[in-house]
């Protein structure tokens, strides 16, 4: 998948575009799994929001002098050993786990799309978490604007 390209490329902008491809692919997998609402949210939030933020961040933190935006990698061998080792451990765990022993997993009955049930569950059982996550998002966005924006003192113009 295109995630490999993120690992291999040196240009940050190309990595951001490859990230878009990865997110869209993951959203397609969500649709296959019967989670349409999560897929739509994924596309909206990641492709519409986070990628725009990332591209603006790349734009603001690099001199637009025409040369390519290069981010060199370092410690490649150690990083590969760590990541590959973790992947091997996870692979062994997945292969040896006996998921059919879990009682609630019903492999025969594939859950179909359930947006009404999802909405009902979200608004009844998890409404407190929903509200808290909304307030958290608001606080984080206000904090982000406060951090990145210009600091303007009282009775004085912008610094």
């Amino acid at each position: 998948m295109s995630a490999l390209y993120i690992m291999l490329t040196k240009n940050i902008l190309y990595a951001a575009f490859a990230l878009i491809l990865t997110f869209i692919g993951v959203a397609g997998i969500y649709v296959f799994l019967g989670a349409e609402f999560i897929a739509v949210t994924q596309i909206l939030v990641y492709v519409g929001g986070i990628l725009i933020l990332l591209v603006f961040g790349i734009m603001l933190t690099n001199r637009l002098s025409g040369k390519k935006v290069i981010s060199s990698a370092y410690n490649k061998i150690m990083g590969f050993i760590v990541a590959g080792g973790l992947f091997a451990i996870l692979l062994k765990g997945i292969l040896e786990a006996n998921f059919s022993a879990l009682g609630w997993i019903d492999k025969s009955k594939f859950s179909d799309s359930s947006i009404p049930a999802f909405g009902l569950t979200l608004m009844t059982d998890y409404v407190l978490v929903f509200e808290i996550i909304g307030v958290l998002l608001l606080l984080a966005l206000i904090g982000a604007v406060r951090i990145a924006g210009n600091v303007r003192k009282e009775g004085e113009d912008g610094v």
Binding site: A3, I6, T41, G84, T121, A140
Partner: protein, 100 residues
């Protein structure tokens, strides 16, 4: 779609994200790697949730993960922009002082 393949995909995405986070110097690339790792966690949650016929906790939890990831990306990028204004670089090895 087989259950194991989804878990393999999640593990692969997580390890690619880990590799990107560990080996890159630029702060924005580190943020991209973190997003990949969060996506891997979401894939696992939805894979388990879709094989559970009568509960939806996995999907709801992954929705909250997406929200927190959005907040984290916004705050992280604003910090990166501010750090770039101060240090004139986004290279994590060259940012080596804390006193503002």
């Amino acid at each position: 779609m087989a259950f194991d393949h989804l878990l393999f995909l999640g593990a692969l995405l997580f390890c690619i994200g880990l590799f990107v986070v560990v080996t890159r110097k630029n702060a924005i690339m580190v943020l991209i790697g973190i997003e990949l790792m969060l996506n891997a966690a979401n894939i696992n949650l939805i894979a388990f949730s879709s094989f559970d016929p009568n509960a939806l906790q996995g999907q709801i939890f992954s929705l909250f993960i997406i929200t927190v990831a959005a907040a984290e990306a916004a705050v992280g990028l604003s910090i990166v922009v501010k750090v770039y204004k101060y240090f004139q670089t986004a290279d994590l090895d060259k940012i080596n002082e804390l006193k503002g």
